[in-house]
Amino acid sequence: MENGDDKGPREFDWFDRPKSRKLLWRILIAACLISFLVEIPVLISHDRHAAAPIDFGKFNIPGFYAVLGFVACTLMILVAKGLGIFLKRKENYYGEPEEETLPEDIDDDVLL
């Protein structure tokens, strides 16, 4: 995850604090902006697909991938949400027996 969990989480509640959540939001937005800005010099130098021997004429629009990512993800969430109306059912829909989810195959100290 990009929002900083590799800062070595210890036994503390840093991620639960509203202040840190705010900070993470800022980092995320800043990262989005930077990824967009960094692209411009690359586009100018025509180095974007330096390894590919193809002309990417029509996709050499600044922020194309940013827009693609944004639109694709939004669409997928909306489609999933919409389908959820028809597809979601209660957990015991198939009448499966309710069972403990504890794994039984490991004879170690199983918590809970």
Binding site: V42, A66, V67, D105, I106, L111
Partner: protein, 621 residues
């Protein structure tokens, strides 16, 4: 040692080795099952192209029309790249063994030996498929995998697992039958049992299509995909981990080997990659999220098989290799959480970063790798496929721009459902007050090894590129690739957190195609029961209970009735009173029922009948 292994089928190392497992004491067993796939890895490494003659079984010549069974694939001399098929098999062989070693390190504390036996035979089956040089050998190992994997699911030993394993078996029997029918037809039409690539332009037939369908069932292609998210999460912690790597990937291998360039696969792959994301977004169970994410990832590989260019085949191989590593890592992280907490639903999990930080870090590395973040193995492998799609699209196959666009969109979606959703809902989100212990040392060790591989192959992919079937001239680390990828992922992350309220988990399941056999089939039964059985009941009431007794009583009493009707005038003429007549009539009916008339009467009646017939015939002459 080297000469022995240069022509020994690695499948047998595991399958024969598995037989010993139940007889070993638990302590030794845990080391033994780690050593066995390691030995198979060495075996794969030493396999030679030319030393395979010993394992061309000619005991079945009567069955194979004089061709020997090839347990070990050799190079195909006629082909453009004679070594490609062999190298492809070897690449899959390596990762199958490597993953098994680490999975068994993770499973160090597993007590039951049945699961280990089933798992080893299952992995052996996968190796057998990978190195099979002919269709019959392929089929035998294919079914061996289906059977043994069912036992891996059953090893969880819960009622749910049993039911799920039953459905799993039915689907795989169906797929296996398609495969067998296809193989029989193909051997008939080609006159050879050899398993090489089928050519899309010239070799389309009922046989090759049936084989393809059989493979697609195992590749979890919708509408035959539901078995995967249905069964894998019902297996035990280690069972699910082992299952996640082999069935779909042997199917991918078989597609790459046999169906490179079959165009419909491009679109099938695209559908899979989106289908997996949509369902993973709807899902609540963390292991089921990962199961749907397998379908999404396999979609990329199936699409690459459809593109079929050397770059695409190599890309799919690299992707399968890296995918097995990071997907195992994710299953391990989920398994460790399930093991420590005993829960696997997102609605019941959260806040685990406080007490399971190492599991979080390793799981996050897996999540970053599956999302193809630069610096991880996903970035150096998956992007080859996208690059191949780009390349083909720019060189004449304009419709591939759509495939390319869908793959890019799906790449963004991977970050959404596996990259962020999985760690976020399990380790962050709402603190549910869970304070489990960190995962056991062996689990952490296994996760650490896989995390290392994820990053190592992300930074230095050349060793992986070297074992691919075709040479890849691809450098993932150009400024353009890196920046566009980061853009794509950052904006996906932004969307995730913007839409977070919409992504709130609910304790629900989502209907998938398995509805048709889990609900639809019972419903079909009910409908047919109601409709056909009501016809049945009506028929019974009308004919069996109504018409037939009436007919029967009619035929039983009609002669007596007619007789009494005929005899009445005689009795009247004899001057019998009504009581006597009634008595005579009863006698007549008694005799009629038992069919016992005095001979005299019978004779008279016969004469009367003859007379009647005579008159009748005289009139109708």
């Amino acid at each position: 040692m080297t000469t022995f292994f240069s022509d020994f089928p690695p499948a047998f190392v595991l399958i024969l080795g598995a037989i010993l497992v139940p007889f070993l004491p638990k302590k030794i067993r845990s080391y033994y099952v780690i050593a066995l796939p390691a030995l198979a890895f060495v075996n794969v490494y030493f396999l030679q192209l030319d030393g395979n003659t010993k394992w061309n079984l000619d005991a079945f010549l009567w069955l194979t029309n004089g061709e020997a069974l090839e347990l070990l694939r050799t190079e195909s001399p006629g082909a453009e790249n004679p070594e490609a098929g062999y190298k492809l098999a070897k690449a899959f062989g390596y990762i199958f063994c490597l993953n098994a070693v680490i999975a068994f390190i993770f499973a160090f504390y597993v007590k039951k030996s049945t699961q280990h036996v089933a798992a080893l035979i299952y992995i052996g089956g996968a190796l057998g498929v990978a190195f099979a040089g002919d269709l019959l050998t392929l089929y035998v190992f294919w079914e061996l995998m289906a059977v043994s994997s069912t036992f891996v699911i059953l090893a969880r030993n819960t009622e749910k697992a049993k039911r799920s394993a039953f459905r799993y078996t039915m689907i795989h029997l169906f797929g296996g039958l398609l495969l067998l029918a296809g193989i029989v037809l193909t051997i008939q039409s080609r006159g050879s049992i050899q398993f090489d690539g089928f050519d899309f332009a010239t070799e389309q037939s009922a046989g090759t299509w049936l084989i393809l369908l059989g493979i697609l069932v195992n590749a979890a292609v919708p509408p035959f995909a539901a078995w995967l998210p249905d069964s894998y999460p019902e297996a035990s912690v280690t069972g699910g981990l082992i299952l996640s790597a082999y069935t779909t990937k042997t199917a991918v291998y078989t597609l790459l080997q046999g169906y490179a360039g079959w165009e419909p696969l491009i679109w099938i792959g695209c559908i899979m990659s989106v289908y997996g994301i949509i369902y993973a977004l709807l899902e609540n169970d963390m292991r089921r999220i990962l199961a749907y994410s397998i379908i999404n990832q396999v979609g990329f590989m199936v699409c690459a098989a459809g593109i079929g260019s050397p770059d695409a085949i190599s890309g799919a191989t690299a992707h399968a290799f890296c995918h097995i590593i990071y997907k195992s890592l994710l299953w391990m992280a989920a398994g460790a959480v399930l093991y420590r907490v005993g829960k696997s639903k997102c609605t019941e999990l959260g806040g685990l970063y406080k007490t399971m930080p190492l599991t979080l870090i390793f799981g996050t590395i897996g999540a970053l790798a599956i999302s193809a973040v630069p610096g991880t193995s996903g970035f150096t492998s998956k992007t080859i496929i996208i690059h191949a799609a780009e390349h083909e699209a720019a060189h004449g196959h304009a419709s591939l721009w759509w495939a390319w666009l869908i793959l890019e969109a799906a790449s963004a979606g991977v970050f959404l459902h596996a990259g962020i959703k999985f760690p976020y809902f399990v380790f962050f989100n709402k603190d549910q007050g869970l304070r489990p212990k960190e995962a056991p040392g062996t689990m952490l060790t296994a996760m650490a090894i896989l995390s290392f591989l994820c990053i190592y192959l992300g930074v230095n992919p050349q060793p992986l590129y070297d074992i691919l079937p075709f040479e890849v001239n691809y450098n993932a680390y150009t400024a353009g690739h890196v920046i566009t990828q980061i853009q794509l992922l950052m904006l996906s992350a932004l969307v995730f957190f913007l839409f977070l309220p919409m992504l709130k988990r609910t304790s629900t399941i989502s209907l998938d195609f398995d509805w048709f056999y889990r609900k639809g089939a019972p419903l079909f039964y009910k409908v047919t029961d109601k409709s056909l059985n009501s016809v049945n009941a009506a028929t019974r009431k009308g004919i069996v209970d109504g018409l037939i007794p009436r007919l029967s009583s009619f035929f039983a009493s009609a002669p007596s009735r007619i007789l009494s009707w005929l005899a009445t005038p005689v009795w009247l003429a004899q001057g019998l009173n009504s009581a006597e007549r009634e008595k005579r009539r009863e006698q007549l009916f008694e005799r009629g029922q038992s069919g016992a008339f005095p001979i005299g009467i019978t004779a008279i009646l016969a004469v009367v009948l003859l007379g009647v017939l005579y008159v009748f015939s005289w009139f109708t002459r």
